[in-house]
């Protein structure tokens, strides 16, 4: 019954499908979104902020993206889209395409046949989107299952005063050995501070909350209003009412907010930093950002609204999708990865899945898939530092992620929504708890599905999905700093299926040629012998373990010089001092010399010369005085 409704909706949408064409040129301008500093921002056709896009289910999207920067490459990723049969339009550089060189134009051309809800788009190049290259991407649903009066898009983010290009070299530096992420200056709502949302009484708003930030998660809560969550990451869920949401970067919550009858008062809509993610909290950092729900523009604006606890936020794990998809009972292929932060030989702090910190290949992985023929099913050719897994068509894949880091991390899988099978609670720093498969556990019957999931500190999560979408999909931490540190891996899903489905467009190839990146060959660019990875990009060497030859030599030398020094001290200390008395004499004044000389004589002769001068003197010197004292 449901199926027939859905499929008829699909055909209805397809029939009305239209094509949206966007011509976007990147560039630099200035803006002052947080009201405290005018700073350079990335503009779209000279404008900031970038537009929020709205299309209908089944529509075609054509974005002509021209790189208007002088010296940086760029890319564009539409976050959360499945890109069925169009993995080459997904966006991440050196995964599914080549970076777009300055002056070059890439056409992102895809359809959105089977998804509805809140998505977003952003540059996937080197943290660029934190400088402003991002916006909401809404796919309207012709068969919206929930009733509401009005729809509102609220985009959230943190904001830095410094450019990513300035922050990254300081972050990836010998002098940032702990990998402390740069601290943002403010939180933004709809690209401004103290955002005003004018509401009408007695109405139900469908609010799309989209965190387009690059680092910090936010707590969201409102004064005397509640959120009713109806969708996450483009997946409808059964309504769930809560007073507080916790939204990581790249996550979306579609909520219903019902306004009050009374228009006499305005209310606060609060954003709050998850300050546990900040390495230090500067004194001047305002952790709470106050926005306004305005019923009456003439009434006073509310002050900040405080809550006693931030522990009672909605745990998304317990949400139940509206479209029931039963738990995949068993997996066919399991990927177990440990999240570790560590320093390599250049002193820089990197992020690792197991022992691999993602370093991009020389050829986009999709290019390797499409040029390797039968070898494409062998993960080795994609390079040893890209951490690539090859998935078989339609198998159930389970990813077990053990977080050995003390921070929360929001992980994002391209090309899919995944079932959340299990998510462990926070464990203490000194006792991280890895996933124990044999521990008794009852997973939810209809697990929550989404495309960005956070893992708790020192804990784990387990997700499953069906490999039914041939393509090259990135799986990475959506904290841009951690992606820069290499917290990513590559999934090559059904490579032979990709070869069957997709041919590269001329424009796609041209992009590669213009930026001088090969698009055939293995990860090292070798298209003769796909198993020869000589010259591939690799991470720096590991830190030396304890004592190396250098350390042993240094320690031995130090020991030798210490022992030798002690020997010399003994030798000198035990040696007699020739003419010691004379030497002492040389240090003395005249009286002392004379006296000492006399005394020594007395000593020498004391056996027989009882009444020597000195003896007499000393006797006299003391006894005389004593007698006179009487």
């Amino acid at each position: 019954m449901r199926l027939s409704i859905l499929s008829s909706a699909f055909f209805a949408a397809a029939a009305l499908a239209e094509t949206h064409v966007f011509n976007w040129t990147t560039g630099w301008g200035t803006a002052n979104p947080d009201g405290t500093l005018e700073r350079p921002v990335i503009t779209c056709n000279g404008e900031f902020p970038w537009p929020n896009i709205r299309v209908n289910k089944g529509d075609r999207v054509e974005v002509y993206l021209t790189n208007g920067f002088n010296n940086t490459n760029t890319t564009l990723h539409f976050h959360g889209l499945f890109q069925h049969g169009s993995t080459q339009m997904d966006g991440p550089p050196l995964i599914s395409q080549c970076p777009i060189a300055p002056g070059d134009t890439m056409l992102y051309n895809f359809t959105v046949p089977d998804q509805v809800g809140s998505f977003w788009y952003h540059s996937h190049t080197e943290g660029q989107y934190m400088d402003g290259m991002r916006g909401a991407f809404i796919i309207e649903d012709p068969d919206m299952p929930y009733d509401y009066d009005e729809e509102v898009v609220i985009i959230l983010s943190e904001w830095y005063h410094d450019l990513v290009d300035e922050l990254t070299p300081k972050f990836m530096s010998l002098y940032n050995p702990t990998g402390a992420e740069p601290i943002p200056q403010n939180l933004l709502m709809n690209n401004t501070r103290n955002n005003t949302w004018i509401v009408e009484p007695n109405k139900t708003y469908y609010v799309r909350l989209i965190n387009i930030g690059g680092f910090v998660s936010q707590y969201l809560y409102m004064e005397d209003h509640t959120f009713t969550v109806v969708a996450v990451d483009g997946v409808y869920v059964e309504p769930n009412e809560t007073s507080m949401l916790y939204i990581t970067v790249a996550q979306r919550y579609d909520v219903l907010i019902t306004t009050k009858n009374d228009t006499s008062k305005n209310y606060a809509f609060m954003q709050m930093f998850d300050d546990t993610m900040l390495d230090v909290i500067p004194d001047d950092l305002v952790l709470n950002a106050t926005n306004y729900i305005v019923y009456d523009e003439n009434a006073d604006l509310p002050g900040q609204y405080m809550v006693d606890s931030i522990d009672d936020f909605l745990d998304d794990f317990f949400l139940v999708p509206l479209e029931k998809e039963e738990l995949y009972e068993d997996y066919d292929y399991q990927i177990t990865i440990d999240v570790v932060m560590n320093n390599l030989y250049d002193g820089i702090n990197y992020a690792f899945f197991n022992n691999i910190s993602y370093h991009a290949p020389k050829v986009p992985t999709l290019g390797t898939v499409l040029s390797a023929g039968e070898n494409a099913t062998n993960a080795y050719i994609y390079g040893t530092n890209t951490h690539t897994f090859v998935l078989q068509k339609d198998e159930i894949v389970e990813i077990v992620l053990n977080n050995q880091d003390t921070g929360k991390h929001p992980f994002h899988l391209h090309g899919h929504v995944f079932q959340v099978v299990e998510r462990g609670p926070t464990f203490p720093d000194d006792a991280p708890e890895p996933y124990n498969e044999s521990a008794p556990y009852t997973p939810p019957e209809y697990p929550m599905r989404r495309d960005v999931l956070y893992v708790n500190p020192n804990s784990y999560f387990v997700i499953r999905f069906k490999a039914d979408n041939p393509g090259v999909w990135f799986f990475h931490c959506h904290i841009e700093w951690h992606l820069t540190q290499g917290l990513a891996l590559t999934l090559v899903e059904d490579p032979l299926g990709i070869q069957a489905n997709e041919t590269l467009t001329d424009n796609w190839k041209q992009i590669c040629e213009n930026v001088n990146v090969a698009y055939t060959g293995n990860a090292a660019g070798n298209d003769k012998d796909y198993f020869d990875l000589t010259g591939q990009n690799v991470q720096p060497k590991d830190l030396p373990a304890g004592f190396t030859a250098r350390g042993i030599v240094a320690l031995v030398f130090s020991c030798i010089s210490g022992v030798l020094g002690c020997v010399v001290i003994f030798w000198y200390g035990m040696a007699d001092i020739p003419d010691m008395e004379k030497r002492v004499l040389a240090d003395l004044n005249i009286d002392e010399r004379a006296f000492l000389a006399a005394e020594d004589d007395e000593e020498d002769a004391s056996a027989d010369a009882m009444g020597s001068t000195i003896n007499a003197l000393s006797k006299q010197g003391t006894t005389h005085e004593i007698t006179t004292s009487h």
Partner: protein, 390 residues
């Protein structure tokens, strides 16, 4: 210097100063016994009492002063150090290195010290009052209680020296790390001093001094290396804007570009027990080029200095130079000694004669075999002149 209960450096400094005080008291007592023991037991007893009173009071006062000094220091806000703690640790380690280095050499020549002390005691006894007025005031009292004042001053001086040294060496240690090593140092110093001076031979005293000096220099080498290590850490922390090494051991806590070895354990700042190893031998779980080089350079400097001193003791001057001695290399020598205590041969001869005359005069007054003494004094004086002229 992270140990909360026992700071090794304090122990050795107190031990050393105690030993010196014990030697002085022992020399005094021996002197009195030799001079008076057999002939005037009553006077001997009284003077001995004076010595003990003086020594005791001196120790007591310096304990009070030291306690007050350190107490006052620690009651002040200690936070001034913590802001750039690594810088201060480095500076104090450097100061401590210098102090211990000079102290150690003196200690090796403590037999020289004994001779010096005999002279000083004698001087106190023999120096005539400058004027008649003084005789009845200060000078008189000094004379009367010289056997009290000498040990009193000595113990006070050694004690205060210990206070200053202890303070300088361990500025950044917690207050709780003071009492135990001070008490232990006192007990050990007295025990060793008494045992060696009365019971043992000069050789065993010498051996003991060598051992303790070697330990002191091991400490000093470690301190020097640590000073460099702290300076490097300070600079690295300035650059990182954080406090990398405070995070303990392991990746991200040190500068790989300067690392010679780094083991993820045995951290003297955070792991119990290793701080003793660090104090005694300068152990670092995260050694840098600077800390390793400075450790070795320090030892080379010590070895070279001792070799030069040995050479000078044999030959009267440094190798390859005829007129240069180690003391002349010290800038303080030029300020303090030159022209003041350095006498011309003629002056010296005149002064010796004068001294000789006085001595003979005094001796004659008491009518006891003055000829022998005078003759001997003259003989030594002549020897001395010969050395001086050479």
């Amino acid at each position: 210097m992270a140990n909360r209960v026992f700071t090794v450096q304090i122990f050795f400094i107190v031990l050393r100063e105690t030993l010196e005080a014990v030697i002085v008291v022992a020399v005094l007592l021996a002197f009195l016994k030799q001079s008076l023991g057999a002939r005037s037991p009553a006077v001997h007893k009284q003077l001995r009492k004076q010595v003990w009173w003086g020594a005791g009071l001196g120790v007591l006062i310096c304990l009070i002063l030291g306690g007050a000094f350190i107490g006052a220091y620690y009651s002040l806000d200690n936070d001034i150090w913590s802001k750039s703690e690594d810088l201060w640790e480095g500076i104090f380690s450097l100061i401590a290195t210098v102090l211990i280095s000079f102290m150690g050499i003196a200690m090796l020549r403590v037999n020289k010290m004994q001779a010096k002390w005999r002279v000083k005691i004698a001087r106190a006894l023999v120096t005539p009052p400058a004027s008649k007025a003084e005789r009845f005031k200060f000078g008189y009292l000094v004379k009367k209680y010289s056997m009290f004042i000498l040990p009193f001053i000595t113990c006070l001086r050694e004690g205060l020296e210990a206070v200053v040294f202890v303070g300088g060496v361990t500025m950044t240690s917690p207050a709780s790390s003071f009492p135990l090593p001070v008490v232990c140092g006192l007990i050990a110093g007295i025990a060793v001093g008494v045992f060696l001076f009365y019971g043992g031979s000069t050789v065993s005293l010498q051996l003991f001094l060598c051992i303790s000096t070697a330990i002191l220099y091991l400490i000093a080498a470690g301190l020097f290396s640590r000073a460099v290590w702290y300076f490097e850490t300070y600079i690295f922390n300035q650059q990182t804007g954080g406090d990398a090494s405070e995070n303990g051991s392991g990746p991200g806590t040190y500068n790989i570009k300067k690392s010679v070895w780094h083991v993820n354990c045995c951290n003297p700042e955070t792991d119990n027990g290793w701080d003793v190893f660090n104090s005694l031998l300068g152990w670092q779980n995260s050694a840098t080029y600077g800390s390793v080089l400075s450790y070795n350079i320090y030892w080379i400097a010590v070895i070279v200095t001792l070799l030069l001193m040995y050479y000078e003791e044999r030959h009267g001057h440094l190798p390859f130079t005829k007129n240069l001695t180690l003391r002349k290399l010290n800038p303080m020598w030029h300020i303090k000694k030159k022209g003041k205590n350095e006498l011309s041969a003629e002056e010296e001869a005149r002064l010796f004669k004068e001294a000789n005359r006085k001595l003979v005069e005094q001796a004659q007054n008491f009518g006891e075999s003055s000829e022998l003494g005078a003759a001997k004094v003259e003989k030594v004086t002549a020897d001395d002149e010969a050395t001086a002229l050479k």
